[in-house]
Structure formats: structure tokens, C-alpha cells
């Protein structure tokens, strides 16, 4: 029984990291139709930002998180203003451009911070596990879990309960008509991109104490995030949350029986089979057109 409970908690913990990583990707795709291949590299930037602030400036972990969101968000905003905005209407080219940006970011980090692995220290007060309901739960994973919930809630409120959200949804539904009503599309796009990038940076900051920080750390995370986005359907926040949950639990479960790699291969296979029969994702209604 505790075995099963532990397994569920492991799955939830994987799911919350997945959701954290895919949230920004899904928002950018949902609003702008842009798959941001530099997402993993924004994540990497976030991790490096924490490492730098912690080791060079001696900042605490939690203040770092807030700073990272704005730093990486600003970089995302800059990228959108200078490059991405020239490529709307050319979806394949946006993939390429963001991929190019990804390489540039990766190499810039490799040249400046070095290619060796870096480590971010987990804050002392989060190292010891907590005892909840008779189970030992890692306090740090609990932090990730709660931050994820807060971010999803913030995103939900942002989209559905602010005037920015109304404009954002208008642009999502029909960019042309939205513009006719005086909405500044360019501004919505750049802010959305910045928000998505900021979320990626935050995700990177949060995973940095769990694993080593390296220039190419983003790739693995972002591939899982693709699977979440593809299977969840991008239009709904709920789809992303639910599919991150399902994929997290499944990969935790598969990994329990085999190993991480085979779990991933099996998941990929399942997702490909899934899109054959439900190309629009599990939770979205309209048909997907890349």
C-alpha cells in the first residue's frame, strides 16, 4: 500500500516538473502558433542564472527564483522583438529560428561559463524529508509541487480573469478581428513570449538543485514537454495539466517496472499511437492544423 502511494507521489513529482516545463511551451504555442525550440535553452539559462546568483552573489534560493523569472522573461521578450516577430505566418521557419537561437544561447553559455557540470545547492531547510500521512516526502519536491500549482493558478487567472487575458483570448481566437477592435497584437505576442520564456527559466531554476546544470540540459526536458503538448492538445490549460499528470504517472509507473529510458520509449510510442486516433489531443475539441 505504501509502495503504491510512494509510486503515485513519485509520478506526481515527475508530473509537476513536466507541467512546469510544458506550461510555457503550451502557452506560446496556443497563443502564437510558434513551437519554441529554444524553450529548453531558456530553461538552461534559468538554471545557470540561479547558479551564478547563488555562487557569485550569495543570494538565497527563493529570491533567486523570482529574479530568474524576470531575467529569462526579459531575454525572451528581446528574442521576440528582434527575431520571432518577423516570422509570423511561417511556422516551419519559426521552428528553425528558435532552434538557431537555442544553439546560440547554448554556445554562449558554453563559452562564458564553461562546458563542465555545475551544481546548485539545495537550500538547507528543504533537504530533510517531511512526514505526511505516514509517508516520507521530500520537502523539495513538495516545494516544486506547490510552485507548480501556484503557477497554474496564476496563469489561469491571467488568462480568464484579467483584461490582458481577454485580449489574449481574442487574439487566440481571431487575430485579425482582434486587431480591428484595437488590440495591439504585437504587444500581446511579445508579452506572451516573455511570459512563456520566464516560465521556462523558472522551471530551470527549480530543477537545478535536483540534477547537474550543463549547457545541453534543456534538450531532455523539452522533448518530454513536446509529448505533453502533443498529447494534451494546446488550446486548453486543462489539457496541458491533465496530460502532464497522465504522462508523469505513466512514466513513473513504467520506470518502476523497467527503467527510465524504456519508460520514455514506451511513452513516445503510446503518444504516437494516440495521435493517430485523436490528433487533436486528448482534451481539445477543434482540429489541429500545424
Amino acid at each position: 500500500m505504501t509502495d503504491l502511494a510512494n509510486q503515485i507521489i513519485t509520478g506526481l513529482s515527475i508530473a509537476s516538473i513536466l507541467l512546469l516545463v510544458s506550461l510555457g511551451l503550451a502557452i506560446i504555442y496556443g497563443v502564437m502558433g510558434v513551437i519554441n525550440l529554444a524553450h529548453g535553452d531558456f530553461l538552461m539559462l534559468g538554471a545557470y542564472a540561479v547558479w551564478l546568483m547563488e555562487s557569485a552573489l550569495g543570494l538565497g534560493f527563493l529570491p533567486c527564483l523570482v529574479m530568474v523569472f524576470f531575467i529569462v522573461g526579459a531575454i525572451g521578450w528581446l528574442v521576440e522583438r528582434t527575431l520571432i516577430r518577423h516570422l509570423y505566418g511561417r511556422p516551419l521557419d519559426t521552428i528553425l529560428a528558435t532552434w538557431g537561437i537555442g544553439i546560440i544561447l547554448q554556445q554562449a553559455i558554453r563559452l562564458s561559463a564553461g562546458a563542465q557540470l555545475r551544481y546548485v545547492k539545495m537550500p538547507d531547510y528543504l533537504v530533510n524529508p517531511l512526514h505526511l500521512l505516514g509517508l516520507d516526502i521530500s520537502a523539495y519536491r513538495l516545494l516544486i509541487f506547490s510552485v507548480t500549482i501556484v503557477l497554474v493558478a496564476v496563469t489561469y487567472i491571467l488568462i480568464f480573469h484579467t483584461s490582458f487575458g481577454i485580449r489574449l483570448r481574442a487574439v487566440m481566437q481571431n487575430a485579425e478581428i482582434a486587431r480591428c477592435f484595437g488590440i495591439n497584437n504585437a504587444r500581446i505576442y511579445s508579452l506572451t513570449f516573455a511570459y512563456g520564456a520566464g516560465l521556462a527559466g523558472l522551471a530551470g531554476a527549480l530543477v537545478s538543485p535536483l540534477k547537474s546544470v550543463s549547457p545541453d540540459m534543456g534538450t531532455n526536458y523539452v522533448v518530454d514537454a513536446f509529448l505533453v503538448v502533443v498529447s494534451g492538445g494546446v488550446q486548453s490549460l486543462f489539457g496541458t495539466v491533465a496530460s502532464a499528470g497522465i504522462i508523469g504517472e505513466l512514466s513513473g509507473g513504467f520506470a518502476y517496472f523497467w527503467n527510465d529510458t524504456l519508460a520514455r520509449a514506451l511513452l513516445f510510442f503510446l503518444v504516437v499511437v494516440l495521435i493517430r486516433f485523436r490528433p487533436q489531443g486528448i482534451f481539445a475539441m477543434p482540429l489541429r492544423r500545424g
Binding site: L92, L96, T219, A265, P279, L287
Partner: protein, 374 residues
Amino acid sequence: MRRIFISRGHIIGYAAFALAILVVPLFIDDPYLLNKLARYLIFGILAAALALSWGYTGILNLGQAVSFGLGSYCMAMTLKLHTIPIQTGAAGLPDFMVWNNVKSLPWFWEPFHSTAFAVVAGVAFPVVVALLLGWFVFRARVTGVYVSIITLAMLVVVNLVIVDQQRFTGGFNGLTDLADLKLFGIDFDPYSSATYYLIALSLLATLMIGELVVRSKTGLIMQAIRDDETRVRYFGYDVARYQIFAFCVSAGLSGFAGMLYAMVMAFASPTFLSVQISLSIVIWCAVGGRESLIGSALGAILVTGIQGGLSETPAFLNTWMLIMGALFVAVVLFLPKGLISIVQLGMARLAGKKISALTEDEAPLPRGHKLGIG
């Protein structure tokens, strides 16, 4: 029979290219350099294969390296079994299997005792994988960026599995210490001109196959699908079938390139299926000209040639990647049809025609968001 239209400029271009790559060995007696040039030509095959699916059919395959890597492993497996002394260990096993406590040769290694089987498998295996993925993806009418991220995800997954299954694949080190390929009494030493000619002829054959495909009726429909998939569907064509066809041809050619690469490098490793290689293929295509087979091939030879010339010093390699990234972004932004479009423009000027280097349909459109989000 539809007349296949080929302009004079095209024929001259191809003839000059064929001549150039075929006479090169006559002037080079450094086997190391010849080996390097052969590698560049293999990259040319890969780039032309991607041009077929991306430039002509609109399928941006970010997992091209899967086909390449599978082809290279097929070749490496047979060459591994032909090494002399054949094997280490009592049961006659490849060395890494002995190290990993594998007791007998796994069933899927058995047929690779036959070189003929390996050569067929090196093309057929990637094609079957592409066929399966293509059937699932294209039949579901998933297109565009989704195909790209699914192929990229597949690349990462396949790479992880190969590294993970160390017992059967040699894991991180891959298959090393391979024999030379011996076919029809010729020993294809990686540093010999025989290997170079084999590769040069393969590249030319690839370009010919590609030109035949894109100039056939099927090729025209492929290009129509690239430009407007929905319209082609309304004309009654089975869009998915053409997409799967292009995807599979591209995969088969890449698998073949992979086999050649395993021969030339004398090893096969998971780096052949890395995101880095896939990315490079896309860059070569974009730089050379994605809508031209020979343009893509030249792009690959040019870019890897410059890279090979400059990155002899490892310190430069990182800077090189930075430059590549910037070049890539610049080409995507300003020269969507690649360098070959400049050549074509020049040739058209000479012929007194007016053609724009940038396509008329690639101007940034107002955001009509046909993503099914509304």
C-alpha cells in the same frame, strides 16, 4: 508520357558538379584528405534527402539522423561480425558483448553475418520505421510543426534506447574496430579512392533519383502539398500517401548515407543519431537551398568543408557552433531559399529573365492563424 523539362542551366550545373567530384581523387594523394572529402559527400546525400521531404513536400523532419544512424548501425553490425580475428570469447561474440556478459549472439544479430542482408536492411529498416511513423502521423492529418517535434522526440528516444541497450548495441561507445567492406572482390578501405568513388557515385545517384522523383507527377503533387495541402486534398488526392512516400524515400536515402558513413568512419556510435547531426542537416539544407537538391548537397559540402578547414583547433569548435547558429538564423530570416537562389538569380539574369530571389509567397503574412485554435 509527360515531357520532363530540364533547363540547360541545370544540365550544365549537374555536369560540372559530377565532373568536379569525380576528378578530385586524381589531384589528391593524401588518403586522410580523401577520407574527409568522402565524408562531406555523404553529408551531401543526407542534405539532398532532407530537401526531398522538407523543401519539396513541406515535411520538416528534425529526426533525419534516426534513419542515418539506423543505416550506419546495420552496416556496422555486419562489418563487426567480419572482423578478423572474427570474435573474442568462446562462443564467437563481438568484444563488447563479452564485456557485457552476453552469452550468445542475439537473434537480431544473426542475419548480419550476410553482407547482402545488411546492405538491404540498411535501407529497408529506416524505411520501415519511417513508414510506421508516417502512417500514424500523416494518416491522422498531423502536419507542420507537429511532425517536426514528433520526429525530434523520436530522435531523442531512439538515441537513449541505443545508449541504454549497451549489451546489444555497444552503448555509448557504439560499434568500433570494424572490418573493411568487401564487395564484388573490391576492398573498400576507408582511405582508398575506391571508397571515395563509391560515395561520389552514390551522391550522384541520389541527386538523379531525387530529380526524377520531383519532376515526376508524384513530385509535382508533393510540391503542391507543400504549398497548399488542403487544396490538394480537395482535388481528390490522397495527401497522406504522398507525404508518406516522400518521408520514406528520404529515410531510405539517409539510411544508405548512414551505411556509407559507418564504412568511412570505421565505427558507428550514438553520436550519429544525435540532435547535433539532425540540426546540422537542417542547417546545410537551409544554407544551400532547401528547394534545390543540388543546392542542399552543395550547402552540406560547403558548410562542413569550411567547418573542417577551420575547426582543426578544438578551441575554435565552440565559436564555430555560435557562428553556425547565427548564420542559420540569418539565412532563415533573409534568404529562405538559400545560397543557391543567388546562383539561380544570377543565371536568370544572364538568361535575361526576372525572378525574385525571395519567393513571393514567403513574405510575412498577416497573422491569419490557421491553427484551429478559434
